[in-house]
């Protein structure tokens, strides 16, 4: 099971952020004005399991004519009386990777794969080593300062176990967040991309839908209207444990070099009072 987030219909209402916090009793994570944009949540974190990004761009969307007068909006450029500005809104979430680096590196087995194919932290086992934090190629999972343990989206493990859809999907007024079996979601997503391309939104593309990508496909994938990095997403994330055998091999060679090298050193010097 998984999420398909169609950002082309996201209206940035943040209902998903609120619903997630309410259902999962996620603590408040600081009320601050960042001054960077209207996005004061800033990023996913231990206490933000859904995050709505607001991207302000001067770029037309679809077949909208740049420079068209949208009724004297305050941002209208003086020359043509119109504006070519657009907003992109996108609700981000844990990707529930098929090959999840956080799960791979967790030394306690606290992170596990559920029967729904999602990735969840068992908070009573997490020992706060923080290893999963830099392991995540998407920068999702994070440590909660007060208790030292890590937290992230559970894809509402409790709700989906009871046959309900996750709180964010339930709360989304435009069905930008859709929940269901991944195959069905991928089919729906492909149709939607085709539809958007048909009406001239050439930049529409899917992200994280490909089971052959660097993380084996995401359990939560997206329809984006620009490059992933514009949304703060990595363009080509890779599960780093993929290189594990090679890394252990290099460590083995280094360890052997140390043993061999030092043995040779002692052999060359001989017993004390001997060669030197």
């Amino acid at each position: 099971m998984g999420f398909f987030t169609d950002t082309s219909v996201c209206i940035g209402c943040k209902a998903c952020e609120v619903a997630c916090k309410e259902w999962n009793s996620v603590p408040e994570d600081g009320l601050e004005f960042t001054g960077m944009s209207y996005d004061n949540t800033q990023q996913l974190g231990a206490d933000t399991w859904r995050h709505v990004a607001f991207i302000e761009q001067s770029k037309p969307i679809g077949q909208a004519e740049p420079g068209t007068d949208h009724g004297g909006s305050p941002g209208a450029a003086s020359d043509g009386g119109g504006t070519d500005m657009r907003w992109l809104m996108a609700s981000d979430v844990c990707k529930h990777c098929t090959h999840a680096a956080c799960l791979d590196v967790c030394p306690t087995g606290s992170l596990f794969r559920t029967e729904f194919g999602t990735v969840v932290v068992q908070e009573d086992i997490c020992n706060g080593c923080g290893y999963c934090v830099p392991a995540c190629p998407y920068g999702v999972i994070d440590q909660r300062k007060e208790d030292g343990r890590v937290w992230k989206c559970t894809l509402c493990y409790d709700r989906i176990g009871g046959g309900l859809e996750p709180a964010c999907a339930k709360a989304c007024p435009t069905d930008s967040i859709q929940y269901g079996p991944l195959d069905e979601l991928r089919e729906r997503a492909a149709l939607r991309v085709e539809q958007l391309h048909g009406i001239g939104v050439e930049d529409a593309r899917l992200y994280g839908h490909d089971p052959d990508d660097g993380v084996g496909g995401d359990g939560a994938f997206f329809l984006l209207l620009d490059e992933p990095e514009v949304y703060g997403l990595p363009p080509d994330p890779v599960v780093t444990t993929r290189d594990m055998p090679s890394m252990w091999r290099h460590a083995g060679v280094a360890a052997a070099a140390m043993l061999g090298g030092l043995a040779a050193v002692f052999a060359a010097h001989g017993r004390e009072g001997g060669a030197r």
Partner: protein, 350 residues
């Protein structure tokens, strides 16, 4: 506290990161943005790599930087190396009739491994959490494997030191010395895999050289410890080991800095760059001094040994901070990945 000002003809003095940067090459803002400008290279420093063109979400990091504290984890990396390589040197010293050096190294290994375990537990927050580490055994988690290596190595190193110092059960002591020496190289190198098995660009891209940097740095630190603690007549092999370690550390670190491309940039800049340079100078001077003067005077040997220990510490802190720097700047994550995607797409087109 904004210094920008809105006038009739637009916004003046707006913060550079204010607008999200649109994909480059796409219509609209042709050429895209450049991310945080003017943050580096401001002091007449020659840029090693051309300034990367990339787009990001308000210049925010893509990755979460490690939550680890430098005082705990960088110290942990150094102490683990000192302990592991020290145990191998101790066994060699014991076998070749250098009892003072052997005892000093066994004691320093015990102290170092105790210190590194304390640093680890401090980073976890509560001692009870260390027990969770031994709940499973996972080869995909270097931290899990490392915990098991430490669980075997710690008692062996402890027994080796205590039995040597007290003179009790010499056979058991020899066995413990041997066991600690056998596990020592694993203690030294697993930490390299630990940090490289993350999405942190400066660490992951250096994954091939990192075990060699760690091994060299550890050998040089342990040899330094022996030079500082044992009489000159016993430290002949230690001086050669210092040379071997110093050369390996420097060669591997330089290879890393040249091969890892953009991801190696943090090793040359900021706090990490300063630690790396200090490490090079201290290790270089310590090694040269040990080889040239370490055999003549006890005082010179002690001074060089201290320089070697300090050099190894600086290198570990440099590596730690380079990772932090590379995780905090989205450039190091986005640019190489974007290049990979573009190359793949270009290949698919042809």
């Amino acid at each position: 506290m904004s210094e920008s000002e809105v006038r009739k003809d637009g916004v003046h003095g707006a913060r550079p990161d204010r607008e999200a940067l649109v994909g480059k090459g796409l219509p609209g803002r042709g050429g895209g943005g450049r991310g945080r400008r003017g943050r580096r290279g401001g002091r007449g420093e020659k840029a090693m790599v051309p300034e990367a063109e990339f787009t990001s979400y308000y210049g925010r990091p893509v990755l979460k930087a490690p939550t680890w504290k430098a005082s705990d984890v960088a110290a942990y990396l150094f102490l683990g190396g000192l302990a592991g390589a020290g145990s191998v040197l101790a066994a060699g010293a014991q076998l070749t009739g250098r009892p003072v050096a052997a005892r000093a190294l066994k004691i320093s290994s015990l102290a170092a491994i105790t210190g590194s375990t304390a640093a680890l537990i401090h980073d976890l927050g509560r001692p009870a959490r260390f027990a969770n580490m031994l709940r499973v055994m996972k080869p995909t988690s270097p931290m899990s494997m490392g915990s098991w290596i430490l669980a075997g190595y710690g008692p062996a190193a402890g027994a080796a030191a205590v039995l040597d110092a007290t003179g009790l059960f010499p056979r058991l002591g020899a066995a413990a010395t041997g066991a600690a020496a056998a596990l020592g190289p694993a203690v030294t190198t697993y930490t390299a895999v630990l940090i490289c098995d993350t999405a942190v660009p400066a660490w992951h891209e250096g994954r091939r050289e990192m075990p060699f940097v760690f091994t060299g740095s550890a050998m040089s630190a342990a040899a330094g410890m022996a030079l500082a603690a044992a009489p000159v007549r016993e430290t002949g092999p230690m001086r050669t080991a210092a040379l071997l370690g110093g050369v390996l550390e420097l060669a591997a670190a330089k290879t890393l800095e040249h091969r890892a491309g953009l991801a190696a940039e943090p090793y040359k800049q900021g706090k990490a760059g300063r630690f790396m340079r200090a490490g090079e100078i201290l290790s270089g001077a310590g090694t040269a001094g040990a080889v040239l003067l370490g055999g003549r005077s006890r005082a010179a040997a002690a001074l060089c040994g201290t320089a070697l220990l300090a050099g190894s510490t600086c290198t570990r802190f440099g590596i730690f901070h380079a990772g932090m720097q590379s995780a905090r700047d989205p450039k190091y994550t986005v640019v190489p990945q974007r290049e990979r995607v573009n190359a793949r797409e270009a290949e698919a087109r042809t």
